[in-house]
Subunit: 412 residues, 2 copies
């Protein structure tokens, strides 16, 4: 039997925002507010920095209907941070301060919503509390559009970004092939080290409007092979749509976005603009075609209007499971997803992974899900990603515009 | 009484695509297919070039259900062109050829869907047919995301682009204010000569997530005033969201996107990347803040998933009205929109304007709809644009992806 633990909880958000991170927030807050063991629900302003600064919002004071709107409000509503805590063996100042704040508010539950780094932070805080003899259950709630968290089938946030990317690529495809004069379009997609997002562009092929070429950071990029690929397809079809991960790099590890490119390719100086603009310039010089570079930029991670309902539901589930597990006695775990496809239908169930396993390990696209020419993904990738973009969301629209949650954020 | 005219019709699309231009196509094709006076419905491949090349698709052969999907298929499904016909007084080769093709297929109705230039083309073709004694009714169907067509309250395509822009700006706003470390975001919006699209960014303020500053091309841009505006707001709020039209220019007429900028602003050479990247660099150098430039690029004109239902309905109406008017005896007119707000409710009715009035005149944002500081729009602008973005569309989704129309395009 679990030991009953009564006390307050703190929920905090970390790292880059996603379209559904607030659905996880709602999963935690809504479940915690209803739980008799949780005496008070606090939201920390700007992640762990809000805990350190004792900047806590009283979630009990919020209008339940506004909280519900978190399900469709993009970005981290409580604010995020990129604060890296010290190793407690070297400097335990921050940890002492967290313990102090926890004691002050009788915090017995800590839920941290974030990516790799956040799971590491969770882990260190939990270990410190244990060593200090302070009874507190610490749970990680995953999120990242990058989908690179180890141990979980996928991460909340990925499905919605994938849906945004696939839909936008399909629409751009329609636009790009409108003139009978040829055109090449290069779309830059987030993902510095893992190609999950760039690969999602290939889903647009199912709409009959997909990219001709997709380049992921899991393999080395070769500019000559790239130009040859583009030229061949442009020659055959009079158009070419390319999706590239921002993280593509040469064999020596240099990011293409940062490498010096020869003056014959149109630029020898450090350039403004991103990778898409760079590649567009190179392709233009080498092929003479009309080329356009498009960077999906922040849009792909905050596009809540296109969030996948599957992703929203799972993000909520992750938050809810974290609270329910903690109350039942679990600590030091991250909620993870397991895919069950026994009957051929996609089904997602949660499991709990030790924070130590998850922290600081990156999950990349398996190399056998990338084609031999390293310019596309295989059917395995499509089969993996497609279920995650299903479901049109039922966001609230007011005046033709998104109706985001408006929290009072009353300081505790 | 109108003279009954029986014969075939040709429908063609021109200029840059929009999210709803195919809804106008469906308005024309659907109405024409049902009209007993129209013996055959042809769609020209790539606008007037398809007429010149006798590349006509037989619309009678299409599946009605696929045609219906045109209502939610972005871009010009029949293909577009940017072909500029000669002045018939100087060279009538093209006009002779068009007459030849019209005679060959007994074409008695010509519907051309486009912007300023297309209305000019329509007008010239019509005059030539009249001078040649060939009985043919010519109607213009307006479209342009730029909303710069003279004589009409607004243009099909604008409302959807405006909705896409306002929604995306609101989402980026949420994302941009997530960290407690300051940030400045500059969003570049289409509109070379008119600021209707950039102004639409201000609609996001109604979602509580709007831009702090908006710059339109109707007024001269002053870099120092701009930096002062941004610095002031950044100083006050720790963040600043800016919407700029791609067409902003200095007092001497030079586009900011093309002007040489001093090396002290971080670049002295011709640069890749668009205006957003340029301005971001200048702001970064001058303020030291973290700055991000985002270009909405093609996404804003092909974002059918966010198309306003009002815009879709009106685009259809424009096509339908063109056919009905032509059959009833009208020629040489463009379908225009008139706003009726007698009861305080927005209502859009059609009227017919002479092509000669519309052709080659640009409609800009009235200067009194721009604030005195030239860094925002007034309530009049909001009141004008808001009704146009209303209505969530009911697009068909398959596999979580847009289901676009798949036409057979059988050559006549």
């Amino acid at each position: 039997m679990e030991k009953i633990l009564k006390g307050a909880c703190i929920f905090a958000q970390s790292g880059g925002p996603t379209a559904v991170i607030n659905a996880s927030a709602y999963g935690v807050i809504h479940t915690a507010l209803a739980d008799p063991n949780i005496t008070k629900v606090y939201g920390a302003a700007h992640g762990i920095k809000g805990v350190l600064g004792d900047e806590l919002y009283d979630m009990d004071m919020e209008d339940p209907e506004e909280l519900k709107l978190l399900m469709h409000t993009p970005s981290s509503e409580l604010g995020s941070c990129r604060y890296k805590m010290a190793d407690p063996d070297k400097d335990e100042t921050d940890y002492r301060r967290i313990l102090e704040v926890f004691r002050k508010h009788d915090v017995r539950y800590f839920f941290y919503n974030g990516g790799n780094d956040s799971m590491d932070t969770c882990n260190k805080i939990s270990k410190y509390m244990q060593a200090s003899g302070y009874d507190c259950r610490v749970m990680g709630v995953p999120k990242t559009i990058d989908n690179d968290l180890f141990g979980t089938d996928h991460c909340p946030g990925y499905g919605s970004a994938a849906k945004y990317i696939a839909t936008s690529v399909a629409e751009v495809y329609k636009d790009a092939c409108v003139y009978d004069t040829g055109t090449i379009v290069i779309i830059e997609i987030m993902g510095r080290h893992a190609g999950w997002l760039a690969g999602a562009a290939a889903l647009a092929c199912l709409a009959g409007a997909g990219p001709d070429l997709v380049y992921l950071p899991e393999t080395d990029f070769d500019m000559d092979a790239f130009i040859a690929d583009v030229s061949r397809i442009y020659g055959e079809k009079g158009k070419c749509l390319v999706a590239v991960s921002e993280g593509i790099h040469y064999a020596d590890g240099t990011f293409v976005s940062e490498a010096k490119v020869s003056a014959t390719d149109g630029f020898g100086h450090a350039q403004l603009g991103g990778l898409a603009a760079r590649l567009a310039q190179v392709v233009k010089v080498r092929t003479g075609a009309k080329v356009r570079g498009i960077e999906l930029s922040l849009l792909q991670r905050c596009g809540a209007h296109l969030a996948s309902q599957t992703d929203i539901d799972e993000a909520f589930l992750a938050g809810k499971t974290a609270v329910e597990s903690a109350v039942s006695g679990v600590t030091d775990k991250m909620v993870a997803f397991k895919r069950e496809t026994a009957d051929g239908q996609y089904r997602c169930v949660t499991e709990l992974l030790p924070l130590t396993v998850v922290a600081n390990t990156e999950k990349k696209v398996p190399l056998n899900w990338i084609n031999d020419a390293h310019n596309g993904v295989t059917q395995e990738f499509i089969d993996y990603a497609l279920p995650l973009i299903q479901g049109e969301n039922s966001r609230v629209v007011e005046n033709g515009l998104p109706r985001f949650a408006r929290l009072k954020k009353i300081r505790a």
